[in-house]
Protein backbone atom coordinates (compact mmCIF):
# COMPACT_ATOMS: atom_id res chain seq x y z
CA UNK A 1 0.00 0.00 0.00
CA UNK A 2 2.78 2.32 0.96
CA UNK A 3 4.39 1.80 -2.42
CA UNK A 4 1.16 2.68 -4.22
CA UNK A 5 0.82 5.79 -2.07
CA UNK A 6 4.38 6.92 -2.76
CA UNK A 7 4.10 6.16 -6.44
CA UNK A 8 0.87 8.16 -6.65
CA UNK A 9 2.45 11.06 -4.78
CA UNK A 10 5.40 10.99 -7.19
CA UNK A 11 3.11 11.14 -10.23
CA UNK A 12 1.08 14.00 -8.72
CA UNK A 13 4.22 15.94 -7.87
CA UNK A 14 5.63 15.37 -11.37
CA UNK A 15 2.40 16.59 -12.96
CA UNK A 16 2.37 19.56 -10.62
CA UNK A 17 5.92 20.52 -11.66
CA UNK A 18 5.05 20.03 -15.32
CA UNK A 19 2.06 22.36 -14.90
CA UNK A 20 4.18 24.98 -13.15
CA UNK A 21 6.89 24.72 -15.82
CA UNK A 22 4.28 25.16 -18.56
CA UNK A 23 2.83 28.26 -16.93
CA UNK A 24 6.36 29.56 -16.46
CA UNK A 25 7.22 29.02 -20.14
CA UNK A 26 4.01 30.66 -21.36
CA UNK A 27 4.61 33.62 -19.05
CA UNK A 28 8.12 33.95 -20.47
CA UNK A 29 6.90 33.80 -24.07
CA UNK A 30 4.49 36.63 -23.25
CA UNK A 31 7.41 38.73 -22.01
CA UNK A 32 9.46 38.06 -25.15
CA UNK A 33 7.20 40.22 -27.29
CA UNK A 34 7.02 43.11 -24.79
CA UNK A 35 9.42 46.02 -25.15
CA UNK A 36 11.97 47.17 -24.13
CA UNK A 37 14.12 44.58 -25.85
CA UNK A 38 17.43 43.85 -24.23
CA UNK A 39 19.59 43.20 -27.27
CA UNK A 40 22.85 43.42 -25.36
CA UNK A 41 21.79 40.79 -22.84
CA UNK A 42 20.70 38.52 -25.71
CA UNK A 43 24.08 38.92 -27.43
CA UNK A 44 25.91 38.12 -24.20
CA UNK A 45 23.88 34.98 -23.77
CA UNK A 46 24.41 34.03 -27.43
CA UNK A 47 28.12 34.17 -26.76
CA UNK A 48 27.80 32.18 -23.55
CA UNK A 49 25.43 29.51 -24.85
CA UNK A 50 26.54 29.38 -28.48
CA UNK A 51 30.07 30.57 -29.10
CA UNK A 52 31.50 29.15 -25.89
CA UNK A 53 29.94 25.76 -26.63
CA UNK A 54 31.68 25.43 -30.00
CA UNK A 55 34.71 23.42 -28.76
CA UNK A 56 32.72 20.74 -26.96
CA UNK A 57 30.14 20.52 -29.75
CA UNK A 58 32.95 20.23 -32.33
CA UNK A 59 34.73 17.46 -30.43
CA UNK A 60 31.50 15.54 -29.96
CA UNK A 61 30.55 15.84 -33.63
CA UNK A 62 34.03 14.95 -34.88
CA UNK A 63 34.29 11.77 -32.83
CA UNK A 64 30.71 10.77 -33.58
CA UNK A 65 31.21 11.20 -37.32
CA UNK A 66 34.46 9.25 -37.20
CA UNK A 67 33.06 6.38 -35.12
CA UNK A 68 29.94 6.26 -37.26
CA UNK A 69 32.10 5.80 -40.37
CA UNK A 70 34.02 2.90 -38.82
CA UNK A 71 30.93 1.19 -37.38
CA UNK A 72 28.85 1.42 -40.52
CA UNK A 73 31.83 0.27 -42.60
CA UNK A 74 32.14 -2.86 -40.44
CA UNK A 75 28.43 -3.61 -40.76
CA UNK A 76 28.06 -2.76 -44.44
CA UNK A 77 31.15 -4.73 -45.48
CA UNK A 78 29.28 -7.89 -44.44
CA UNK A 79 26.88 -7.49 -47.34
CA UNK A 80 29.08 -5.54 -49.67
CA UNK A 81 27.56 -2.08 -49.20
CA UNK A 82 30.73 -0.27 -48.02
CA UNK A 83 30.10 2.44 -50.60
CA UNK A 84 27.12 3.65 -48.56
CA UNK A 85 29.20 4.72 -45.55
CA UNK A 86 29.22 8.40 -46.58
CA UNK A 87 25.46 8.39 -47.08
CA UNK A 88 24.81 6.87 -43.68
CA UNK A 89 27.11 9.31 -41.91
CA UNK A 90 25.50 12.31 -43.61
CA UNK A 91 21.92 11.19 -42.97
CA UNK A 92 22.56 10.18 -39.36
CA UNK A 93 24.39 13.37 -38.52
CA UNK A 94 21.92 15.81 -40.07
CA UNK A 95 18.68 14.09 -39.14
CA UNK A 96 19.47 12.76 -35.72
CA UNK A 97 22.88 12.82 -34.12
CA UNK A 98 23.75 16.45 -34.85
CA UNK A 99 20.65 17.90 -33.17
CA UNK A 100 20.33 15.41 -30.33
CA UNK A 101 23.98 15.23 -29.30
CA UNK A 102 24.36 19.00 -29.57
CA UNK A 103 21.23 19.40 -27.44
CA UNK A 104 22.51 17.07 -24.75
CA UNK A 105 26.00 18.59 -24.74
CA UNK A 106 24.60 22.14 -24.50
CA UNK A 107 22.21 21.06 -21.74
CA UNK A 108 25.19 19.78 -19.81
CA UNK A 109 27.35 22.79 -20.45
CA UNK A 110 25.11 25.85 -20.72
CA UNK A 111 21.92 24.55 -19.07
CA UNK A 112 23.79 23.67 -15.91
CA UNK A 113 25.47 27.08 -15.89
CA UNK A 114 22.10 28.84 -16.29
CA UNK A 115 20.54 26.90 -13.43
CA UNK A 116 23.55 27.48 -11.19
CA UNK A 117 23.70 31.20 -11.92
CA UNK A 118 19.99 31.85 -11.50
CA UNK A 119 19.86 29.49 -8.51
CA UNK A 120 22.63 31.41 -6.79
CA UNK A 121 20.83 34.67 -7.55
CA UNK A 122 17.69 33.20 -6.03
CA UNK A 123 19.26 32.01 -2.78
CA UNK A 124 21.21 35.27 -2.32
CA UNK A 125 17.94 37.22 -2.83
CA UNK A 126 19.18 38.92 -6.00
CA UNK A 127 15.97 37.84 -7.77
CA UNK A 128 13.88 39.42 -4.99
CA UNK A 129 16.09 42.51 -5.28
CA UNK A 130 15.18 42.78 -8.97
CA UNK A 131 11.50 42.74 -8.03
CA UNK A 132 12.02 45.45 -5.41
CA UNK A 133 13.73 47.60 -8.04
CA UNK A 134 10.59 47.19 -10.19
CA UNK A 135 12.48 45.08 -12.70
CA UNK A 136 10.83 41.84 -13.74
CA UNK A 137 13.32 38.95 -13.51
CA UNK A 138 11.62 37.11 -16.35
CA UNK A 139 12.29 40.04 -18.66
CA UNK A 140 15.81 40.69 -17.37
CA UNK A 141 17.19 37.21 -16.87
CA UNK A 142 15.11 34.58 -18.57
CA UNK A 143 13.93 36.08 -21.85
CA UNK A 144 17.51 36.74 -23.11
CA UNK A 145 18.51 33.15 -22.30
CA UNK A 146 15.48 31.68 -24.04
CA UNK A 147 15.99 33.75 -27.19
CA UNK A 148 19.72 33.08 -27.27
CA UNK A 149 19.38 29.32 -26.78
CA UNK A 150 16.63 28.99 -29.39
CA UNK A 151 18.70 30.91 -31.95
CA UNK A 152 22.10 29.40 -31.19
CA UNK A 153 21.21 25.71 -31.12
CA UNK A 154 20.51 25.52 -34.89
CA UNK A 155 23.77 27.33 -35.60
CA UNK A 156 25.69 24.89 -33.44
CA UNK A 157 23.91 22.04 -35.22
CA UNK A 158 24.95 23.32 -38.67
CA UNK A 159 28.49 23.28 -37.36
CA UNK A 160 28.07 19.82 -35.85
CA UNK A 161 26.64 18.47 -39.13
CA UNK A 162 29.61 19.77 -41.11
CA UNK A 163 32.22 18.61 -38.64
CA UNK A 164 30.55 15.22 -38.24
CA UNK A 165 30.48 14.67 -42.01
CA UNK A 166 34.08 15.83 -42.25
CA UNK A 167 35.05 13.46 -39.44
CA UNK A 168 33.36 10.57 -41.21
CA UNK A 169 35.02 11.51 -44.48
CA UNK A 170 38.49 11.73 -42.99
CA UNK A 171 38.14 8.22 -41.57
CA UNK A 172 36.48 6.93 -44.72
CA UNK A 173 39.14 8.29 -47.01
CA UNK A 174 42.15 8.28 -44.71
CA UNK A 175 41.74 4.99 -42.86
CA UNK A 176 39.26 2.91 -44.82
CA UNK A 177 40.81 3.82 -48.18
CA UNK A 178 37.63 5.02 -49.85
CA UNK A 179 37.99 7.03 -53.03
CA UNK A 180 37.53 10.68 -51.95
CA UNK A 181 35.49 11.66 -54.99
CA UNK A 182 33.13 8.72 -54.68
CA UNK A 183 32.86 9.12 -50.92
CA UNK A 184 31.81 12.76 -51.23
CA UNK A 185 29.43 11.95 -54.07
CA UNK A 186 27.78 9.28 -51.92
CA UNK A 187 27.62 11.67 -49.01
CA UNK A 188 25.53 14.22 -50.83
CA UNK A 189 23.75 12.00 -53.39
CA UNK A 190 20.86 11.04 -51.10
CA UNK A 191 20.97 14.02 -48.75
CA UNK A 192 17.89 16.22 -49.10
CA UNK A 193 17.38 19.72 -47.79
CA UNK A 194 14.54 18.40 -45.67
CA UNK A 195 17.01 16.22 -43.73
CA UNK A 196 18.91 19.32 -42.72
CA UNK A 197 15.86 21.49 -42.06
CA UNK A 198 14.20 18.84 -39.90
CA UNK A 199 17.32 18.62 -37.75
CA UNK A 200 17.53 22.39 -37.44
CA UNK A 201 13.87 22.67 -36.51
CA UNK A 202 14.27 20.04 -33.83
CA UNK A 203 17.31 21.80 -32.46
CA UNK A 204 15.38 25.06 -32.05
CA UNK A 205 12.87 23.21 -29.92
CA UNK A 206 15.74 21.65 -27.96
CA UNK A 207 17.22 25.11 -27.35
CA UNK A 208 13.88 26.34 -26.02
CA UNK A 209 13.63 23.27 -23.77
CA UNK A 210 17.15 23.67 -22.38
CA UNK A 211 16.70 27.35 -21.52
CA UNK A 212 13.14 27.04 -20.18
CA UNK A 213 13.89 24.00 -18.03
CA UNK A 214 17.20 25.34 -16.70
CA UNK A 215 15.82 28.81 -15.91
CA UNK A 216 12.77 27.26 -14.26
CA UNK A 217 14.98 25.09 -12.07
CA UNK A 218 17.21 28.07 -11.31
CA UNK A 219 14.53 30.51 -10.19
CA UNK A 220 12.79 27.83 -8.13
CA UNK A 221 15.91 26.98 -6.17
CA UNK A 222 15.78 27.01 -2.41
CA UNK A 223 18.00 25.77 0.36
CA UNK A 224 21.36 27.48 -0.10
CA UNK A 225 24.37 25.90 -1.77
CA UNK A 226 22.88 22.44 -1.58
CA UNK A 227 19.75 23.69 -3.32
CA UNK A 228 21.83 25.21 -6.12
CA UNK A 229 23.56 21.85 -6.62
CA UNK A 230 20.26 20.03 -6.81
CA UNK A 231 18.75 22.59 -9.18
CA UNK A 232 21.77 22.26 -11.48
CA UNK A 233 21.50 18.48 -11.55
CA UNK A 234 17.77 18.61 -12.16
CA UNK A 235 18.24 21.12 -14.98
CA UNK A 236 20.55 18.74 -16.86
CA UNK A 237 18.56 15.56 -16.13
CA UNK A 238 15.16 17.04 -16.98
CA UNK A 239 16.44 18.84 -20.12
CA UNK A 240 18.09 15.66 -21.37
CA UNK A 241 15.01 13.51 -20.79
CA UNK A 242 12.76 16.11 -22.41
CA UNK A 243 15.09 16.41 -25.41
CA UNK A 244 15.00 12.64 -25.96
CA UNK A 245 11.21 12.43 -25.57
CA UNK A 246 10.56 15.45 -27.78
CA UNK A 247 12.97 14.10 -30.35
CA UNK A 248 10.95 10.91 -30.67
CA UNK A 249 7.64 12.74 -30.81
CA UNK A 250 8.80 15.33 -33.37
CA UNK A 251 10.56 12.79 -35.55
CA UNK A 252 7.59 10.42 -35.67
CA UNK A 253 4.94 13.10 -36.19
CA UNK A 254 6.56 15.62 -38.45
CA UNK A 255 9.19 13.94 -40.54
Amino acid sequence: MRFVHNFGAMIISALHSLGEATVFTLDTLRWIVRPPFRIRAVLEQMQEIGYNSIPIVAITALSTGAVLAIQSYIGFKRFGAESMVGTVVALSMTRELGPVLTGIVVAGRAGSAMAAELGTMKVTEQIDALFTLSANPVKYLIVPRIIAATLMLPILVILADMIGIAGGASIGVGVLDANPVIYMKKTFEFLQLNDIYSGLFKSMVFGLIIAAVSCFQGVNTDGGAEGVGKATTRAVVVSTIMILLTDYVLTSILF
Binding site: E125, Q126, D128, A129, L130, T132, L133, S134, A135
Partner: protein
Protein backbone atom coordinates in the same frame (compact mmCIF):
# COMPACT_ATOMS: atom_id res chain seq x y z
CA UNK B 1 -7.42 58.14 15.23
CA UNK B 2 -6.17 60.87 12.96
CA UNK B 3 -2.82 59.22 12.48
CA UNK B 4 -1.34 58.90 9.01
CA UNK B 5 -0.54 55.24 8.51
CA UNK B 6 1.60 54.53 5.46
CA UNK B 7 1.51 50.74 5.93
CA UNK B 8 -1.29 48.72 7.45
CA UNK B 9 -0.98 44.99 7.88
CA UNK B 10 -4.48 43.73 8.59
CA UNK B 11 -5.07 40.22 9.96
CA UNK B 12 -2.54 38.65 7.58
CA UNK B 13 -2.31 34.85 7.43
CA UNK B 14 0.37 33.04 5.49
CA UNK B 15 1.26 29.36 5.38
CA UNK B 16 3.84 27.41 3.37
CA UNK B 17 2.47 23.94 2.79
CA UNK B 18 1.10 22.90 6.17
CA UNK B 19 3.44 25.21 8.08
CA UNK B 20 1.66 28.37 9.27
CA UNK B 21 3.99 31.35 9.51
CA UNK B 22 1.71 34.34 10.00
CA UNK B 23 -1.56 33.68 11.82
CA UNK B 24 -3.36 37.00 11.95
CA UNK B 25 -0.64 39.66 12.07
CA UNK B 26 -1.78 43.25 12.63
CA UNK B 27 0.58 46.18 12.39
CA UNK B 28 0.26 49.85 11.49
CA UNK B 29 3.28 51.93 10.55
CA UNK B 30 3.02 55.71 10.75
CA UNK B 31 4.44 57.89 8.03
CA UNK B 32 7.98 58.96 8.88
CA UNK B 33 8.50 56.72 11.89
CA UNK B 34 11.11 54.05 12.47
CA UNK B 35 9.29 50.82 13.24
CA UNK B 36 11.35 47.86 14.41
CA UNK B 37 9.85 44.39 14.23
CA UNK B 38 11.55 42.01 16.64
CA UNK B 39 11.15 38.29 17.11
CA UNK B 40 13.09 35.06 17.22
CA UNK B 41 14.49 33.31 14.18
CA UNK B 42 11.85 31.68 12.05
CA UNK B 43 8.92 33.67 13.45
CA UNK B 44 8.07 35.12 10.06
CA UNK B 45 9.70 38.54 10.22
CA UNK B 46 11.10 38.26 6.69
CA UNK B 47 7.79 36.90 5.45
CA UNK B 48 6.10 39.96 6.97
CA UNK B 49 8.21 42.56 5.15
CA UNK B 50 8.02 40.58 1.92
CA UNK B 51 4.27 41.08 2.16
CA UNK B 52 4.71 44.83 2.52
CA UNK B 53 6.59 45.16 -0.77
CA UNK B 54 4.44 42.60 -2.59
CA UNK B 55 7.04 39.86 -2.92
CA UNK B 56 4.49 37.60 -1.20
CA UNK B 57 0.73 37.80 -1.09
CA UNK B 58 -1.32 36.93 2.00
CA UNK B 59 -3.46 33.78 2.10
CA UNK B 60 -5.97 35.75 4.14
CA UNK B 61 -6.16 39.36 5.34
CA UNK B 62 -4.69 42.36 3.54
CA UNK B 63 -1.73 44.70 3.36
CA UNK B 64 -2.44 48.34 2.54
CA UNK B 65 0.40 50.63 1.50
CA UNK B 66 -0.30 54.31 1.02
CA UNK B 67 -4.02 53.61 0.69
CA UNK B 68 -3.62 50.81 -1.89
CA UNK B 69 -4.28 47.16 -1.14
CA UNK B 70 -1.18 45.32 -2.35
CA UNK B 71 -2.98 42.08 -3.21
CA UNK B 72 -5.38 43.82 -5.60
CA UNK B 73 -2.84 45.61 -7.78
CA UNK B 74 -1.98 44.51 -11.29
CA UNK B 75 1.63 44.17 -12.48
CA UNK B 76 2.01 47.81 -13.52
CA UNK B 77 0.47 49.17 -10.34
CA UNK B 78 2.57 46.86 -8.22
CA UNK B 79 5.70 48.08 -10.00
CA UNK B 80 4.85 51.71 -9.37
CA UNK B 81 4.03 50.93 -5.74
CA UNK B 82 7.41 49.22 -5.35
CA UNK B 83 9.13 52.42 -6.45
CA UNK B 84 8.03 53.95 -3.16
CA UNK B 85 10.20 51.35 -1.45
CA UNK B 86 13.88 50.77 -0.99
CA UNK B 87 14.90 47.48 0.50
CA UNK B 88 18.17 46.49 2.12
CA UNK B 89 18.52 42.73 2.03
CA UNK B 90 20.17 40.66 4.70
CA UNK B 91 23.07 39.66 2.43
CA UNK B 92 22.86 42.99 0.55
CA UNK B 93 21.77 41.04 -2.60
CA UNK B 94 23.96 43.14 -4.88
CA UNK B 95 23.96 41.87 -8.47
CA UNK B 96 27.38 40.29 -8.68
CA UNK B 97 27.65 40.59 -12.44
CA UNK B 98 27.47 44.40 -12.17
CA UNK B 99 29.83 46.94 -10.60
CA UNK B 100 28.85 48.77 -7.41
CA UNK B 101 28.12 51.87 -9.47
CA UNK B 102 25.85 49.93 -11.85
CA UNK B 103 24.13 48.35 -8.87
CA UNK B 104 23.38 51.66 -7.20
CA UNK B 105 22.33 53.25 -10.49
CA UNK B 106 20.24 50.25 -11.60
CA UNK B 107 16.78 51.72 -10.94
CA UNK B 108 17.88 55.15 -12.24
CA UNK B 109 18.90 53.59 -15.53
CA UNK B 110 15.75 51.48 -15.85
CA UNK B 111 13.12 53.92 -14.69
CA UNK B 112 14.32 57.46 -15.40
CA UNK B 113 15.47 59.37 -18.48
CA UNK B 114 18.47 60.90 -16.72
CA UNK B 115 21.66 61.21 -18.72
CA UNK B 116 24.60 58.99 -17.90
CA UNK B 117 26.41 61.88 -16.29
CA UNK B 118 23.47 62.81 -14.05
CA UNK B 119 23.07 59.21 -13.01
CA UNK B 120 26.73 58.93 -12.13
CA UNK B 121 26.45 62.06 -10.04
CA UNK B 122 23.52 60.63 -8.07
CA UNK B 123 25.33 57.31 -7.62
CA UNK B 124 28.40 59.01 -6.16
CA UNK B 125 26.16 61.18 -4.01
CA UNK B 126 24.28 58.18 -2.58
CA UNK B 127 27.51 56.25 -2.00
CA UNK B 128 28.91 59.23 -0.10
CA UNK B 129 25.75 59.33 1.95
CA UNK B 130 26.45 55.81 3.23
CA UNK B 131 30.13 56.58 3.70
CA UNK B 132 31.60 54.88 0.64
CA UNK B 133 34.11 56.50 -1.70
CA UNK B 134 35.81 55.31 -4.89
CA UNK B 135 34.05 51.97 -5.05
CA UNK B 136 31.90 52.60 -8.16
CA UNK B 137 34.06 50.45 -10.40
CA UNK B 138 34.56 47.56 -8.01
CA UNK B 139 32.56 44.36 -8.19
CA UNK B 140 30.55 43.31 -5.09
CA UNK B 141 32.98 40.41 -4.54
CA UNK B 142 35.76 42.88 -3.80
CA UNK B 143 33.89 44.49 -0.88
CA UNK B 144 33.75 43.45 2.77
CA UNK B 145 30.44 42.46 4.38
CA UNK B 146 29.88 45.85 5.96
CA UNK B 147 30.73 47.69 2.75
CA UNK B 148 28.32 45.47 0.82
CA UNK B 149 25.53 46.41 3.22
CA UNK B 150 26.34 50.08 2.74
CA UNK B 151 26.33 49.68 -1.03
CA UNK B 152 23.04 47.79 -0.74
CA UNK B 153 21.65 50.70 1.24
CA UNK B 154 22.90 53.17 -1.36
CA UNK B 155 21.05 51.14 -4.02
CA UNK B 156 17.92 51.11 -1.84
CA UNK B 157 17.87 54.91 -1.48
CA UNK B 158 18.89 55.71 -5.07
CA UNK B 159 15.33 56.60 -6.09
CA UNK B 160 14.61 58.55 -2.87
CA UNK B 161 12.09 56.06 -1.53
CA UNK B 162 9.33 56.96 0.93
CA UNK B 163 9.75 53.69 2.78
CA UNK B 164 12.95 51.79 3.50
CA UNK B 165 12.78 48.16 4.55
CA UNK B 166 15.77 46.80 6.43
CA UNK B 167 16.04 43.00 6.61
CA UNK B 168 18.31 42.16 9.56
CA UNK B 169 20.70 45.03 8.83
CA UNK B 170 23.22 44.14 11.55
CA UNK B 171 23.23 40.35 11.31
CA UNK B 172 26.69 38.95 10.73
CA UNK B 173 28.59 42.20 11.31
CA UNK B 174 31.11 42.98 14.03
CA UNK B 175 29.97 45.27 16.90
CA UNK B 176 31.69 48.33 15.48
CA UNK B 177 30.14 47.82 12.07
CA UNK B 178 26.75 47.20 13.71
CA UNK B 179 27.03 50.54 15.40
CA UNK B 180 27.87 52.29 12.14
CA UNK B 181 24.91 50.67 10.40
CA UNK B 182 22.62 51.68 13.26
CA UNK B 183 23.87 55.26 13.01
CA UNK B 184 23.35 55.13 9.28
CA UNK B 185 19.73 54.00 9.68
CA UNK B 186 19.07 56.80 12.16
CA UNK B 187 20.72 59.35 9.90
CA UNK B 188 18.69 58.13 6.88
CA UNK B 189 15.61 59.03 8.90
CA UNK B 190 16.77 62.58 9.41
CA UNK B 191 18.40 63.03 5.98
CA UNK B 192 15.64 61.81 3.71
CA UNK B 193 12.73 61.53 6.15
CA UNK B 194 11.69 58.12 4.92
CA UNK B 195 9.58 55.73 6.91
CA UNK B 196 11.72 52.80 8.08
CA UNK B 197 10.64 49.26 8.84
CA UNK B 198 13.43 47.14 10.26
CA UNK B 199 13.28 43.51 11.20
CA UNK B 200 15.91 42.28 13.60
CA UNK B 201 16.60 40.06 16.56
CA UNK B 202 19.51 42.28 17.55
CA UNK B 203 18.09 44.04 20.61
CA UNK B 204 20.95 46.53 20.78
CA UNK B 205 20.14 47.67 17.29
CA UNK B 206 16.40 47.75 18.04
CA UNK B 207 16.86 49.94 21.09
CA UNK B 208 19.02 52.38 19.15
CA UNK B 209 16.98 52.88 16.00
CA UNK B 210 13.34 52.37 17.00
CA UNK B 211 10.64 55.01 17.40
CA UNK B 212 8.31 52.10 18.00
CA UNK B 213 8.85 48.37 18.45
CA UNK B 214 6.55 45.46 17.64
CA UNK B 215 7.23 41.91 18.73
CA UNK B 216 6.20 39.03 16.49
CA UNK B 217 5.63 35.67 18.17
CA UNK B 218 3.92 32.59 16.75
CA UNK B 219 2.70 34.52 13.73
CA UNK B 220 1.05 37.37 15.67
CA UNK B 221 2.13 40.64 17.23
CA UNK B 222 2.05 40.26 20.99
CA UNK B 223 3.42 43.66 22.00
CA UNK B 224 3.56 46.96 20.11
CA UNK B 225 4.51 50.40 21.35
CA UNK B 226 7.33 52.78 22.24
CA UNK B 227 10.57 50.94 23.10
CA UNK B 228 10.16 51.70 26.82
CA UNK B 229 6.65 50.24 26.78
CA UNK B 230 7.56 47.04 24.95
CA UNK B 231 10.78 46.50 26.91
CA UNK B 232 8.81 46.78 30.18
CA UNK B 233 5.98 44.52 28.99
CA UNK B 234 5.08 42.02 31.72
CA UNK B 235 4.31 39.24 29.26
CA UNK B 236 7.11 36.75 30.08
CA UNK B 237 7.85 35.98 26.40
CA UNK B 238 8.35 39.66 25.62
CA UNK B 239 10.21 40.36 28.84
CA UNK B 240 12.67 37.52 28.21
CA UNK B 241 13.30 38.51 24.64
CA UNK B 242 13.74 42.18 25.43
CA UNK B 243 15.93 41.72 28.50
CA UNK B 244 19.10 42.89 26.76
CA UNK B 245 17.27 45.60 24.85
CA UNK B 246 15.95 47.04 28.07
CA UNK B 247 19.45 47.20 29.60
CA UNK B 248 20.89 48.87 26.52
CA UNK B 249 17.99 51.28 26.27
CA UNK B 250 18.23 52.36 29.90
CA UNK B 251 22.01 52.52 29.84
CA UNK B 252 21.94 54.70 26.75
CA UNK B 253 19.50 57.00 28.49
CA UNK B 254 21.93 57.39 31.38
CA UNK B 255 25.16 57.66 29.45
CA UNK B 256 24.09 59.85 26.62
CA UNK B 257 22.60 62.47 28.91
CA UNK B 258 25.77 64.51 29.62
CA UNK B 259 26.67 64.61 25.92
CA UNK B 260 23.21 65.69 24.85
CA UNK B 261 22.99 68.29 27.62
Amino acid sequence: MGKDYIIKVDNVHKAFGDKSVLTGANLSVERGESMVVIGGSGTGKSVLIKHMIGLMMPDKGKVVVDGKEVGKLNEEELNSLRRKFGMLFQGAALFDSLTIGENVGFALKEHTNLSKRDREKIVIDKLNMVGLKNVENLKPMELSGGMKKRAGLARAIAMDPEIILYDEPTTGLDPLMCDQINDLIVSMQSKIGATAVTITHDMVSASKIADRVAMLYNGKFISTGKPAEVFNDTNPVVANFCYIGKIVYETEAIYSRPIKG
